[in-house]
Structure formats: C-alpha cells, structure tokens
Symmetry: C2
Subunit: 500 residues, 2 copies
C-alpha cells in the first residue's frame, strides 16, 4: 500500500523561533525577582528587560547590528548581565573573554573573533592595556543617548548567540560558538533532570565568561527563576547565600565545595538547598566522604564548553552506589565510547542538540572533531553495565585547576620560545586545594634558571597557567610514534609526591 507523504500540503517550517525569553518572563512574571545581589538589591524580570532594552538602544549608537560580534571583557557584574541580554535584543553575537588572560592572549582572541567592539570596565582597561582600537566601557555606554532602533521580538534557535574560547591539544585557542538552541536544549536537559520548583533560586558565582556561569543566566530567563548573583566570589558570600538567602540550587567547582565543607564543621546545609551541581574536575575521595557525612545533595556532572555545560549528570540517588561516575547523559543527549580497548576504555563521543555545531572559522578542525553528528571530546572513559559514565582522563592531558581548564600544549608553546629550551612537557600534579596544578618538565641545551623561566611564563600566560614548578630533565619519555608520554611523567610526579 502506498502512503501519502507527510510533506504533501503541510506547512513546512525551516527554523524554530520562540518569543524572546526575557521579554516573555517580563510578561509572565513582571514582579518576580530575576537577579538578587549580595547587598540586597533585587532586579525584577520587568526591570531587567527594561534595563537591557535601554542598554541595547544605547549600544545601537555604536553600529551594532545583526550578527555583529561584540566582545565582553568583564568580571561578574550586573552590567555584564544587562549587556548580554542587550546584545541578544540586537541579535549581535557575544564573544566572552576570560579576565584572567594576559594582554597577549586577549589580543589573539579579539583578533581571531573579528570582534567589531570590545565592551569592558575601566579597571580592566587599565590593567590589560589592550591595543584594540574600538573599545568602550559599560560606564560610557550608559551615559549615551538612546537610539530608536527596533529590537528583536523573537529568538531564532538556529542563530549564533555566544562564543567563548577553549584551548585544545594543538594549543591554539578555538572559538566555541553556541547557538540560542544549544543553550535552550542545555537548559531543557537540566530541568528534566533536576526538576523545577516555584521557589527555586540558583546561585551564580562561577564566571559568566565560562559556560558554567553563563548557562545559569540563561536558565533564569527560560525558567523565570531567580538567580542569586555573587559578583565577587568568597566562601563567606557562598555560605551567606546558602544559609541566609534561601538559595535552593548552587553550581560549584570542586575547590568551592571543598572550602564550603572546610568551614562548615558545625552546620549541615539547610533543607531548602536541594542540589549542589558540581562540574570541573574529579572529586577527591576525602571530599566525597565529607559530602556523605554532611548529607550534601551532590550532583556530579561532566560537560565542557562544547556541550554548553553539563551533558552527563550523576543524580544524588546514585552518588554513593556509583562513586566516581559522572552519571548518565541528560535526556536529549547521547554518549558512546569510541574505539574502546579491551577494558572498555575509549574516547567519549557525544551527540545531542546542546552540543555546539563547530569551532569558529576552523573547517579542518571541525572536520576532525565531528563524525556523523557525534562530537569527539578527546576525553577517555568507559560506560559500566548499568550505563554510567566514568571519565578516566580528561582530554588526554587536560589539567583542571580550581575550575579553570589548562591545556599543557599552550604552556609548552610558550616555554619553547625561551632561549636554549629544547623540549617541554607540562603535566598536572594532584593538589588537595586546586585539584591539580601544572608542572613543566624541561630539557635545555645549556643550564637554565627556574626563576627566569617562570618569569618568562608569567609574561605570556594567565597566572593560573604558569607552572608551579620546573623539573629539569635530560630527556622526555616518548612512545614509538615519538609522541611525549605525558601520562608517564604525571605518574612519576604523583607517585613521588605520595612517597614524600
């Protein structure tokens, strides 16, 4: 029997549009608090919309149009939130820059991204002294007249919204483009996992220039949910948020959780805290034991910039039974182990509508990174019989230190530029405070001085990337393909540490 096709006479859509999320929340919940600050300031969804629209119309003086790329260099601040929403009203693309980067690193990203404008603060302007010509402070924009332009009513989920840089095994930072749809699906995956309560209030203290922070902001305007916004991180502020300000969900990195439990010897977390979402690096066992003792509702997760934040999450239910696992992929996501060895360990590959569509202007890199819609993370892991993911090694050599990603190759490139340095390998050494710290193994032609070499690194690298220590050595261990076996060095380092 022949069946009529679905497309016969059916109105076919090409893209998916939804009403602008902030406009929508301002309509649905005008008086609900969108952003609550430590000092007690509360900004409702209606106010946030009005401020963002106003700022958009001020920005419009600067020739920002649809798909214009605008870089933001700012630490967490309410102005930054308003700017992000404002740029979405202009349908511009937001390039988020990490404030901890050096002038050299920032210049590279500004140039690579083709940013037409840099929005920043006075203090960062003075600190970074960027040669970039078209830069302006939030303060200056706010003093401008408004220009009467029409703002976006809708969001096209296929349109690009944000870009942030991530380094890779090759060392050169790559721009990860997130569409509105990537963010949307990430937030939907999260709500189907964690649920949504009318009184939910999500703690935002991770940097907005990382996807972990930005994704909280976007969930807020999608869910109509209050964000408790700590502009300047301190453990005191986090405790205040959890204990006094009725925060129900908090996204933390391991370092923060450690600090929280260190200073929390007497009080259990209050009952209204229903989820501590943990990203960024593995959790040391002593910390997990504390989590258990204090009944912390911990949700470990696995994700990266390319997956628009968490893509695999371990729910509280399985926290003990599946210790060390990152959990199962969120509803819209799929994971597989690629080319598993006899132990089942292989590369983790991921698929789903929250996975980004490619690095900016790097067609060859994208060709390598995707196959049949699956993104190759470069991380190693295995999936147990019950379907739980265990990450064995992050991106082969990735070092996660205090929530920041450090790519060894990027540091190696810098050190190789130093006179008489012949060979370099950077590896992570386990650290009870930071999770891991970078250590450099260096082979030189002539004797070299550790302090000079570190000083040189400091000039070219963000401080968290500067090796804590240089180990001078005769040769580096290499495999048959002449590739440095960083894991061999890491083992050596971590064994020595344990022995001393």
């Amino acid at each position: 029997m022949k069946h009529k096709s679905f497309s016969e006479g059916i109105y076919l859509k090409t893209t998916t549009n939804i009403p602008h999320w902030l406009t929508k929340q301002a309509s649905l919940h005008p008086n609900k608090v969108a952003i609550e600050l430590v000092d007690g300031t509360c900004i409702t969804f209606l106010q946030l919309k009005q401020k963002s629209e106003h700022f958009a119309k001020q920005l419009a003086n600067l020739h920002i149009e649809k798909e214009t790329r605008v870089a933001i260099l700012s630490s967490n601040h309410i102005d930054m939130i308003i700017a992000i929403h404002a740029l979405s009203y202009l349908e511009a693309m937001v390039v988020l820059l990490n404030t901890r980067l050096t002038t050299r690193e920032l210049t590279y990203q500004l140039t690579q991204s083709n940013a037409a404008l840099l929005l920043t603060t006075k203090s960062l302007q003075q600190e970074k002294k960027l040669a970039f010509s078209n830069q302006i402070t939030f303060f200056r924009v706010k003093s401008m007249c408004i220009k009467d332009v029409s703002l976006a009513n809708d969001i096209n989920l296929d349109a690009p919204f944000t870009m942030m840089y991530t380094s890779g095994t090759t060392g050169a930072p790559k721009g990860v483009v997130h569409t509105y749809g990537n963010h949307w699906w990430s937030a939907v995956g999260s709500v189907l996992n964690l649920g949504l309560h009318a009184d939910d209030k999500w703690l935002l203290t991770l940097p907005l220039f990382h996807v972990g922070g930005l994704s909280i902001l976007i969930r807020s305007v999608m869910y109509g949910m209050t964000v408790f916004f700590i502009e300047e991180y301190s453990i005191t502020a986090v405790k205040h948020a959890l204990f006094e300000r009725k925060v129900t969900i908090a996204s933390l990195v391991t370092l923060m959780l450690q600090q929280l439990l260190d200073k929390n010897d007497e009080n259990l977390l209050p009952g209204h805290v229903r989820c501590i979402l943990l990203g960024g690096g593995s959790v040391p066992e002593p910390l997990l034991r504390k989590v258990e003792a204090y009944h912390v509702p911990l949700f470990q997760s696995y994700g990266m910039t390319e997956t628009s934040s968490q893509i695999v999450t371990l729910s509280e239910t399985y926290a003990r039974e599946k210790l060390g696992s990152s959990g199962k992929p969120l509803l819209p996501a799929n994971i597989k182990i690629h080319q598993a060895d006899h132990n089942g360990v292989g590369e983790i590959i991921v698929k789903g509508p929250m996975v980004f569509h490619g690095y900016d202007q790097l067609p060859e890199e994208n060709e390598r990174a995707f196959s049949d819609g699956w993104f190759h993370t470069g991380d190693l892991g295995y999936i147990d019989d019950d379907g739980f993911l265990y990450v064995v090694d992050r991106r082969t050599d990735l070092i996660i230190s205090g929530g920041e990603n450090i790519y060894p190759s990027e540091i190696e490139q810098v050190l190789l530029d130093y006179p008489h340095v012949k060979d370099v390998a950077v590896v992570g050494q386990g650290d009870s405070k930071w999770g891991a710290i970078p250590v450099a193994f260096v082979v030189t032609e002539k004797e070299a001085n550790e302090a000079d070499l570190l000083e040189f690194a400091r000039q070219h690298l963000a401080s968290y990337k500067v090796p804590r220590r240089i180990v001078f050595t005769e040769t580096l261990p290499r495999n048959a393909a002449n590739k440095v076996m960083r894991h061999r060095l890491a083992e050596e380092l971590n064994n020595n540490k344990n022995n001393t």
Copy 2:
C-alpha cells in the same frame, strides 16, 4: 567592518534528533513507576519499554514500516499506551480514532487517513462492525511471534508521530498531524509553566484519542514522571486518585471538576494536589466560586488539537484577579488578535513550535489556515492591557459539551439529508452539567416529527453530537451575506432558558 558568517566551516545540522524518550527513561529511571493503575498494578519505565518493544516486534509481522499509518480505535487501556509507544519504535504514524464516533464517521476517517491497519479491541470490533479489511485486535497481536526487526533508537523531532481528526466550520473532519517536536515543545512549555517535582504524579483520565489525554502520556516519558491512569472514568475513581493515591497534577474538563466539587462538600483537596489543569470550555461562575471556597489550585487553559493541547494558561496566582481569562501564552508560544474591532476583539492567531504544521493532505485548507507562520484558530478573543487572553467565542460556533468538541456544520449536513428539511442551524445551549448542549433549528417544507428526525441523527452521528432538541421554525435569521447568524439563535435560546 565585514564579519565572517556563522556558517563558514560550521557543522550544520538539518534535523534535531534526540534519544527515544521511553528508552531514555528506562535507562535513567528503570525502576520508577511509569504507569499506575486503579487496581494497584504498577508498570515501571523499564517494563513499559520492554512491553512496547515486544509489541513493536509483534506488529512488525504486519508489514508496518517507517511512516506506515496505523489507526487505533480503543478506549483508554494499558494496551493502547503500549501500542502507541510500540508504533513510535517502528517510526510508524498513529491515527487516533474517537470511540464515540459512528461507523459512518469512523469509515470516513479510516479512508481519509490512508491507514494501512486498524488496531482495536474485540468489543469495539463487534460494536462498530467496520468494513475496513485490515483490522486486528490487540489481543491477536499479543499472541503473535516476534519478528526480529531493528527498532528506532532516536526520535527525529521533525517526523510525524500522531494524527487525530477535528472538524471545522466546513464540517468535514480534518486530520491534524503532530510531529514529535510538536508534542515535545508542548511538554516543555508546560514544564516551564507548572514546574516539575520529583514526586509528581499526573492523573490521566481524559481519552487518549484526544490531545488532552495523549499529551499527558508524552509528558510522562519526557519528564520520567508517573501517570495515574484511570482506564474507565468515574468521579469515584478521580476522588480516589486525588485523595488516596497521591496524585499531584490532574487534567480535567469542566464537567469533571463540577462532579468533583459536587461530591466534595466536606473535604478540601489534600495538600499534595498542586495543580488542577482545566481545558475544554469556559467555566461557569458558580463553579469558579466553589473553586475559590475549596482552595482548588486551578489552572485554566486554552488550547486545541492544532496547538498540541494547552498553549495559553492562567496560573493560580491570577485565577481571581483575572477571572474569565485563559491566561498568557506559554513560554515558546505567541498569540495575537487578528483584525481586532474597536473593542479589541478579533480572531486569535497563534505561533510557536507546538503549533501543528498542517492538516493532512489539505493544501488549500492549510493555505487558508496559516499566514506567515501564524495559525488562525477561528476563535474570537481579546488581550487585556496586562497581556491576558479572554476567549469571547470558540471558533465562531463551536459547541464544547462535556469536553467534546461539536461542530454545528457537521450536524447540519446530516439533518439536511432528511426528507423535506430545507434549512438547519445548530447552536449550543448553556447547560449546567455539560457546559453546553447542541440544539437544532429546523425549517421544513412539510410538517416533520421531532422523534423521527432525532432517530435519523442518531444513525449518523456520535451520540454526543445528536441535538438534544429540535426547534421547528419558519425561517432562520441571515445576515446581508446570507450567512445564518447562529449567535442570534443562541442568544434567543439562552435568554428563553434564563426566563423560564
């Protein structure tokens, strides 16, 4: 400055795929109850997946392939749920038939839909005596061997999933095709409005062949949420579900809510009931007063088959302040009033990813129904200054009786076939039990007998569509364009009723 386009070297997706939702829930929550029955039977997500896969492999014997159209004629029954999921594993399209329709009506829909197979029950087979050749009972299928076919791992959100018929102003039923994406977005819109709690349990007692019932089933597999499934509606069963079985959300029609509150003079609803979602027709004022007195957490809503259930919902917060309003459009949706008159009243048009893409094989009808992505509902309404929708008139002449839609023109066509009937107009008369009941105004050439005419109607129409009363009249009121002014007749009817 020229900006590089986003698409340069970016991996472009064409469709959005997600893992099959039931397979996913069976992985995430294998032992969580998916379906709970009145008799205490509980079916977990893992069991539901296994049963559905098994049934799919039995159905595979019947040459069901991707996009094969399979009709289901069944009252609410667990077999029907399994069949719907099974057909999605085969990527077939499910045509849902209303059990209350006559043999003639069902035959029309079976033919129109190009169904390759009819799945039904023994009792409905005996009752309807359909001439359709390729029909089989659930029971027969369950006795078959399984065929080893590969089942769908993914769901393509752009693929058609279900079809159900709705009548229109022209009288001929039209097949409303829902893609997986339509259902998905409808469920996302709902979760962002109502939230999601770990202990949520949704009462399903509306027929699965209507979108109001079907959408609950789909939310269940998307949210990983338990459905309390009443196969045979009774107010006793509903009370039992709400009071004894910890149901937290219930979708009801006005008639059911009325019955619930009638028999509920002593007990308030228990605290775990956090939402009564009400669709289908306006709520009489005395009922609203009871809702207030009993503190019922009522969410009134507006929606239709074409919008995959609710698209506008009034939250509890505004229930009193905005009495009579249907609320505001859900997050992914937009509404507008088309060609408003001086009072702001015009046709309600809607847009959003939960809105269907067209009627099956009716290109001209679709041409009329859509403009620039907006679907013209045919309903009249206005939006107040705060953005709340008030529905003034459902599809000009639609009569909603006990949750069923009745289209006057469909009844009129039937009555005009009776000898000596010259002219007919059917209108709704307000009814305290059913909301509204159909009444026919008939002009005949010769004197006719009411009983004979009603008997004729009963032979051709589902019983709920049969007029409760015939009013013989000399002429029908017509406007300048010679269109019957049904509203004039309705006014007459409802005034007379109030006067007597």
